[in-house]
Symmetry: C2
Subunit: 370 residues, 2 copies
Amino acid sequence: MQKFRVELKKTVDDSYDVRIGRNLIPELVADLKGGLTGNCKKFAVVTDTNVRELYAAPLVEQLREAGFSAELFVFPAGEKSKVRRTKEQIEDAMLEKGFRRDCCVIAAGGGVVSDLAGFVAGTFGRGVPYVNYTTSLLAAADASIGGKTAVDTDLATNLIGLIYQPKKVYIDIDTWKTLPKEHLINGLAETVKHACLADASFFSYIEDHVEDILNGVPDVCEYICEQNCRVKYEVVMKDEKEQNLREILNLGHTVGRAIETVSGYKLLHGQALSIGMTAQVNLGCRLGFLTEDERDRVIALQKRIGLPVGIPDGIDREELVKKLYTDKKVRDGKLRFVFQKGIGEVMTFGEDVYARPVAEEEIREILMQM
Amino acid sequence: MQKFRVELKKTVDDSYDVRIGRNLIPELVADLKGGLTGNCKKFAVVTDTNVRELYAAPLVEQLREAGFSAELFVFPAGEKSKVRRTKEQIEDAMLEKGFRRDCCVIAAGGGVVSDLAGFVAGTFGRGVPYVNYTTSLLAAADASIGGKTAVDTDLATNLIGLIYQPKKVYIDIDTWKTLPKEHLINGLAETVKHACLADASFFSYIEDHVEDILNGVPDVCEYICEQNCRVKYEVVMKDEKEQNLREILNLGHTVGRAIETVSGYKLLHGQALSIGMTAQVNLGCRLGFLTEDERDRVIALQKRIGLPVGIPDGIDREELVKKLYTDKKVRDGKLRFVFQKGIGEVMTFGEDVYARPVAEEEIREILMQM
């Protein structure tokens, strides 16, 4: 024998339900009793200092009342916690408490929590079941569909991680009422992005309901959440066939991620994204991908929501340009951007090509004027 | 909408070739030029201080001669390096050198290298292609088939990791001639384990060829390598259907992994496994799963090879008993062991049940007498 083939062709089914509703903790516990995660009786509830008392501690309590073993693992709230060190600390604490491969991880919180908890679940015992209970608009839009988990490093955001699917996602609209307004605003940045890339009428709906959203009118919030998930879902689903389509979700993120890092995470993700979207429509307009009116509508909507559309004082633009090269879309050392086409569509640059090479000078010029 | 289903049912093909031969670096480079890892032009060669000069540096050189970009990432040889900190250092060094998601990771070394490099590949950019060039008997047997990658923590071995399949495995028999005899002996422990659990005639072959193996007679080494891969492959393949069968590869590892940790990794993995196998046949004999003659044959073969069959001085047996509970087979706080049935088969304890609960007293008594 000089060679043999390891045959690993198989059908896998990672399908799962996304539940959108109110007061979902009892339903989550009932699902677990009904066998959502098989025979698992031991749950690691991963959360941050913001969500701990509001929802994670009650969840642990209800799990215990249902006869499960459950422990809380809490890290400091904020993007700065989304690093390998926090992942290690959670793992060590789980091991210390006797957790092994027969456990299940439940994320209770926003996007940072689900990114971290999903990554922990995906590598703990080489993968244990994972359930996502999301408590923020941003998480609903950005982190509940697609299975992306990751941490940041000094040199790159979201570059160390996994695609790891949850057993079920719960989007509890009730929890939004306890979100600080700043975080609600933050979450709307992804919503605007989704509308820009896929749905002109959804964009108009947001324009018409900014105040209702910020005031937490339930029906409006539920609709916003549904549309967010729908856009994301459709893109992620189609991407099963078209390898690169998922890149369009990266709209606005090239500059967004870079400025988030350069700001030392003083900018929230949504704030950074809004600045990134502004850079994108400015450059896109220059390149003829959308009109000045369309560009101005996007910028105006972000402003009305309360999102920043300029580069804040104290950000070194040259450092920002340098940081662009840590973007995951970089190929062969060249920057690549996704662009919206008008409002509600994205540009394509060939079959299954959604990102366009951008010369450093082109984007530097835009950034210098923002 | 209150609920919607994310459909993620699909067929995946992770099949790959295992190549067993001599002087395989030129073939590996030719395969990469032929598109083994798609369009990838940037290779991170991960290796340890032992393998660096012998094979990894020449591999990098040949990759560069072939027109690829290639960099060497070296960590100190030994199981102690198989930790999250080393993974982080490799990742940071890769990011520092400009590696992003368009790269490929090549492991060049033994089991520790492939465990670490495979884990790095599986989470870098959420997964980049990975090629395994193995330079030790142990890696050929233990790490080239099955896709298991992992690191150790203070509290558990191999508990943080992934199942991540390579694009191809190269087992270069030529490299065995530079293995220190201690490492060759170390690798034979897994070989004996494979024979014990699956193939009585292979066990006899090893008994008949101990000296040839230790002297590196090429045909004998190639045969040993083939049989190792065959046994492992058959178990891993069947496990696609029978969920628990893979546990039989854990034969001898319950005590083995624990003593490896308690020794502070002064014991090599194979040495620890040999002690674990001895504990397993002692307990199995007591429980009537194999005869005294069969038990003695296993112990005698390990001795002839040069493997330890008793617990070395300085190992605290009570600490060892406590450490058993960090084993990944532990369920509901109970120890579970896999047992061989005579020589060449494993015990089953029900349909698709290969591990038997063992009372702490049963195994303590065995360990006190070793």
